[in-house]
Symmetry: C2
Subunit: 447 residues, 2 copies
């Protein structure tokens, strides 16, 4: 086999990083389930027309083709399959397909890989893991679910050994109502222009607003003034009203965003900030939108985004409005791994290595291991009956804290960090709670 | 949106089935970790030449193509990417690529989707989930790991609410040595012919042995006599020796298989049976091979297979021999779901629904929910402040066992199955252990 090399955009972790990711996923899942979200997976593929139905994503889709298929590899037909590029579009499709069998409102979480054929760069991958929650209802969806999303995400992220986060919230109705209120008709073009604020700056956004949304200088200035508004409390609404624009949709958006910010302030002070520049690229959002920054990693952009969508799923006359948010797990971990910010106490789940005295006695070591495992203690048996010093080094190299020595006159167990060795019985001995499973934490960094 | 329809071969579960799958995966993982296997994931894609290196699988591979890529969709080039069709080939590649950073022997588990462009049929999917364990060492791999595999799988499957299983073991060296001992030179062709025994029967296998392996009538008869041998203990070796064939490789295989059967008999009586017809299609196996049948579902074939491979991974002069086994999770669950054999006590993780007295009081219900969640009790807040009867029906339809009523004079909680309602404090009340999380079990079937 010639030496294989990594494929750009398709990350693979080291065993230690994988242990950290597994722990992170377990904690995220635990929080999602505490809030009553049920697990769901959808197939990895969708019909191409389904994938292209929403958003400007056509260039990002990976198509599938069977190596020995009959088709000629020409242009993709209607029945072509592509890998999903997010979990929201497949979820909306699942809801419509199974509407008759689901209980509404339907709360689900979904942790799966997604694929995008983008040019890879730091924090951007072609294959990556997302952890989504969504709530979808039939016909109408109460606005209080838009306030619940940040609380779930706040709890989930607070359970992780990552820097604190700030969730920025906005409401599409505010932008749309405001743009309409100042006389702009192509509100979508205006939204797309303002969405580029962080990338190209206010002067270029003003140009873009003039070019693509037909904005006058005064209108562009008003759009930028709106985008400047940011507050950790409901004062953002006063700041918007001070701009002197009035529109019914704007009022609706202000009331909804006020409720989201109030709920967050009551249940998770400091978590959310109203930030009226948040627009989100995807065109299916219709209400609250969310982005999330890790403090100290702001320049890398959002690690958790989402929003309310009223028109993504429908079947005949029935609509299924929803709200959802997605943790970019690979993106978040890739940034933190790159910064050396996360640690794990050992590379393997193993807590005890049972030594083998002689190869003929392996069965005795197997019996010890079985007794420890039956009480939930992760245990390996030594690969060979070499000198004990070498068997201990096997444990050391992996960070396994204990080595067990079966003996004719009774067993002993050694904490190889302290060197302390004591008599022990496999049916009774228990490691300290801190050693039972690997501990994932934040690396200590200088000052 | 036009009504979407399922895609053949790409299964999706109902929410209840998904809860069952999640529970099954958790239990499998727990057992793997108790044996010291560390989690690993590899990217979903491999270079096409890597995928085609082993086994007759070219027709099963899905190639990726970017929708807007520059290539013309013509024949796949050297750098074409395909979705992996198993987890063994990617794992071998990962080991070679990261050999300098890994500790050997390297024990890992890997639970991921794989894809095969096969014609879908019952129990055969195009996208399915596998749960693998493998142990890979550098240069040499002790044979005792071949005996460990069935013990891990036995424990993992015993932890599941599935029918009991029987693991059938054989050793490629027995077949190869025996075929050589009776004078056949193309032992691989002989193996492939015998592998079809269950499908086409002994008479056709004998014809195939004559045609493809050049076997005489006596040689074909001897091959079939070997394949007939099956025993739950080491007596299989006597039965082989009684056929009067001698070969050094045959002796080696008999000794190795005897050790596997002995270890299994000592630690997990009744789990393993030596069955010399087990061949496994893949050509990379070189020692012990495994297949697993669920009792009562034998006609659907193996749900867990694997074996030892000495030549799958190498780098320059260094070889990385390994042994592994793979639970076909989707296949196993698909069969059991089809038979209605599995149940779950509720469709959601939620243990408590907190009622909302009036929409203005939602915040009080949120506080109760947060207190319950902080003590690990999965809790939802009612979607709306409709009449309590309707809120209780929301819980009933999902199987949520408790409804909580916040009150000005103190809260009460109702077990909606018994109707019993008692005073309760959110910071103290605890549900019975059996209600805390959904219970997955086997359906009771007639007689």
């Amino acid at each position: 086999m010639s030496k294989p090399t990594p494929i750009s955009g398709f990350p693979e972790w080291t065993p230690a990083q994988q242990m950290i990711e597994q722990s992170v996923l377990d904690r995220i899942r635990t929080t999602f389930e505490l809030y009553g979200f049920a697990p769901l997976e959808t197939r990895s593929v969708e019909p191409l027309d389904q994938l292209l139905r929403k958003g400007e994503t056509s260039k990002e889709v990976y198509l599938l083709r069977r190596l020995q298929s009959d088709d000629d590899g020409g242009p993709a037909g209607d029945d072509a399959l592509g890998l999903h590029f997010d979990l929201t579009v497949p979820f909306a499709r699942y809801v419509v397909e199974n509407a008759g069998r689901l209980q509404f409102p339907f709360r689900r979480y979904q942790i799966q890989k997604v694929w995008r054929g983008e040019r890879p760069q730091e924090g951007r991958y072609r294959e990556f893991l997302q952890a989504d929650i969504d709530i979808v209802d039939r016909d109408t969806l109460p606005a209080h679910y838009e306030a619940e999303m940040p609380l779930v995400i706040g709890d989930a992220l607070r359970s992780l050994p990552i820097p604190p986060v700030r969730i920025q919230v906005n409401n599409r109705k505010i932008c749309e109502g405001f743009y309409r209120g100042i006389g702009l008709t192509d509100t979508e073009a205006a939204l797309r222009a303002v969405d580029k604020l962080d990338k190209i700056g206010p002067a270029k956004v003003a140009e873009l607003l003039a070019e693509t949304a037909g904005a006058s200088e005064a209108q562009a200035k008003a759009c930028l003034a709106l985008a400047e508004i940011s507050a950790p409390d409901t004062s953002f609404a006063d700041a918007v009203r001070a701009l002197g624009v009035s529109d019914p949709l704007l009022d609706e958006g202000l009331a909804e965003l006020t409720a989201v910010v109030q709920t967050a302030a009551a249940h998770a002070p400091g978590l959310c900030v109203a930030d009226l520049r948040i627009a989100r690229g995807l065109d299916y959002y219709t209400g609250t939108v969310y982005e999330t920054q890790m403090i100290g990693y702001e320049r890398f952009g959002s690690i958790c985004s989402g929003g309310r969508y009223d028109n993504l799923a429908s079947s005949g006359n029935v609509r299924f409005p929803g709200v959802g948010i997605s943790i970019g797990v690979t993106r978040m971990l890739g940034l933190l791994f790159g910064a050396g910010a996360l640690t794990v106490s050992r590379d393997v789940p193993t807590c005890v290595l049972v030594a083998v005295t002689a190869e003929e006695q392996r069965s005795a070591s197997d019996v010890v291991a079985a007794a420890l495992r039956s009480r939930g203690i992760a245990t390996e048996v030594s690969p060979s009956a070499v000198k004990f010093g070498k068997q201990i080094r096997y444990a050391e190299r992996r960070g396994i804290p204990y080595v067990w020595f079966p003996g004719a006159d009774g067993d002993e167990v050694k904490d190889i960090r302290s060197g302390e060795q004591v008599a022990a019985v496999a049916g009774q001995w228990t490691p300290p709670a801190a050693d039972r499973t690997p501990v994932v934490g934040r690396a200590r960094t200088g000052a």
